[in-house]
């Protein structure tokens, strides 16, 4: 009889120990989760980067956390970022929701939907203002992806959802090849 009680209490103790240990592991896991990289970006900075005339291409993607097709295509951009030279294919995933969403919305969103690349948060910027710096008409419907060449010339504009293949085709047509197949 005593033996059974003894055994049961040992088993209970072991279970409790395991539970505490797993909670501890979970907590550590959460802490070690990478902080998402978010850069603020102004309209003038976008204008400058298009005008820089650096070799390679610039991809600008305008997106919002509330836009389902935008969210769906983010991993495609993540793959492009991993596959191509970061100097030759300069990727700017620009969220248009403004700094007020940074802590409450964007950070938790990027923790849940981790990306290998930095994300840019636009300061201000109505569609009309963006049209001027992007040098093209935009309807305001998201997502929008615009690709510029080294001369700052617009070479492709997608309004609506796209895939990795759509982007890769443009990259290939403009002499870009992946540096790794991962």
């Amino acid at each position: 009889m005593v033996n059974i009680y003894y055994r049961c209490s040992i088993a209970l103790f072991c279970m409790l120990f395991l539970m505490t240990f797993s909670f501890f592991l979970l907590a550590v896991g959460e802490q070690s989760e990478k902080e998402p990289v978010i850069h603020d970006i102004k309209l003038t900075q976008i204008e400058t980067l298009i005008a820089e005339k650096k070799p390679g291409l610039i991809i600008i993607n305008l997106w919002a956390t509330w836009c389902p097709p935008c969210v769906a295509e983010l991993p495609h951009f993540g793959n492009i970022y991993k596959k191509y030279s970061k100097e030759k294919v300069r990727l700017y995933l620009i969220n248009i929701e403004g700094k007020e969403i940074k802590e409450k919305v964007l950070k938790p969103f990027l923790k849940k939907n981790a990306l290998p690349c930095p994300v840019y948060l636009l300061e201000g910027g109505k569609p009309e203002e963006l049209e001027k710096v992007l040098k093209t008409e935009i309807s305001g419907a998201l997502p929008i992806t615009i690709i510029y060449n080294s001369e700052g010339k617009l070479i492709k504009k997608f309004e609506g959802a796209i895939t990795e293949n759509n982007i890769e085709l443009v990259l290939k047509q403009n002499g870009m090849s992946p540096i790794s197949q991962n």
């Binding site: 509330w66 248009i96 929701e97 007020e100 969403i101 109505k126 309807s139 419907a141 998201l142």
Partner: protein, 203 residues
């Protein structure tokens, strides 16, 4: 001498003609519908099968909202549109929603409208024909038509950046206020973020 003069003259005439063609070509390409143009009529059914046309509302200010229940940003504007409806529907302003999303069926619209207590009719734009006619691209996208049936405002509902965002400029309300006061609309054309109108896929 006279020959070169004639050549010069014809060259000038040709280039002027080309210039005129270019200008006309460009302006016609830029926009199908301009502020001040008569708003094209529609004949569309609401989710109960009742037909509505723009001409039946002649003499009233009509606020047309291209909307989509599939679009969080469009849904975000709904409570504020309902408030505007409550404020202005007694002052001769008619509100109409148009759903052009190719997948959304009248019964889906009805379910959503009843659930969210959308206070005005939502019409089904089958095969996005009316959206094509007026070149509507985004949800929500607002067209305001004056008592004479002319387009007086086109663009964003307001300037918020997300479904729950706080607007700094209430474009639609400002336009209605100006119309009711008989004043010119300060911003007759605006743009805003939104979802693309999901049109019937081209085969």
């Amino acid at each position: 001498m006279t020959k070169t003069n004639a050549t010069k003259k014809s060259a000038i005439i040709v280039s002027i003609c080309m210039l005129i063609c270019m200008v006309f070509g460009l302006t016609s390409q830029i926009k199908a519908l301009n502020i001040g143009d008569p708003m094209p009529d529609f004949n569309l059914k609401d989710y109960d099968g009742k037909e509505h046309s723009l001409t039946q509302y002649k003499g009233k200010i009509v606020v047309i909202e291209f909307c989509s229940q599939e679009c969080p940003y469009s849904r975000g504007a709904d409570p504020d549109l309902a408030k505007l409806h409550a404020k202005y529907s007694t002052k001769g302003v008619v509100f109409i929603g148009i759903d052009s999303h190719f997948k959304t069926q009248p019964e889906d619209i009805k379910k959503y409208a009843l659930e969210t207590k959308k206070p005005y009719p939502i019409l089904k734009d089958v095969e996005n024909k009316y959206a094509d006619k007026v070149d509507a691209k985004v949800t929500p996208e607002i067209f305001i038509v004056d008592k004479d049936g002319k387009l007086v405002y086109h663009g964003a509902f307001d300037d918020r950046k997300g479904p729950d965002g706080q607007p700094t400029e209430k474009y639609t309300e400002n336009a209605i206020e100006a119309l009711l006061a008989g004043k010119p609309i300060e911003k007759a054309e605006t743009k805003a973020w939104g979802c693309t109108i999901k049109r019937v896929p081209k085969s």
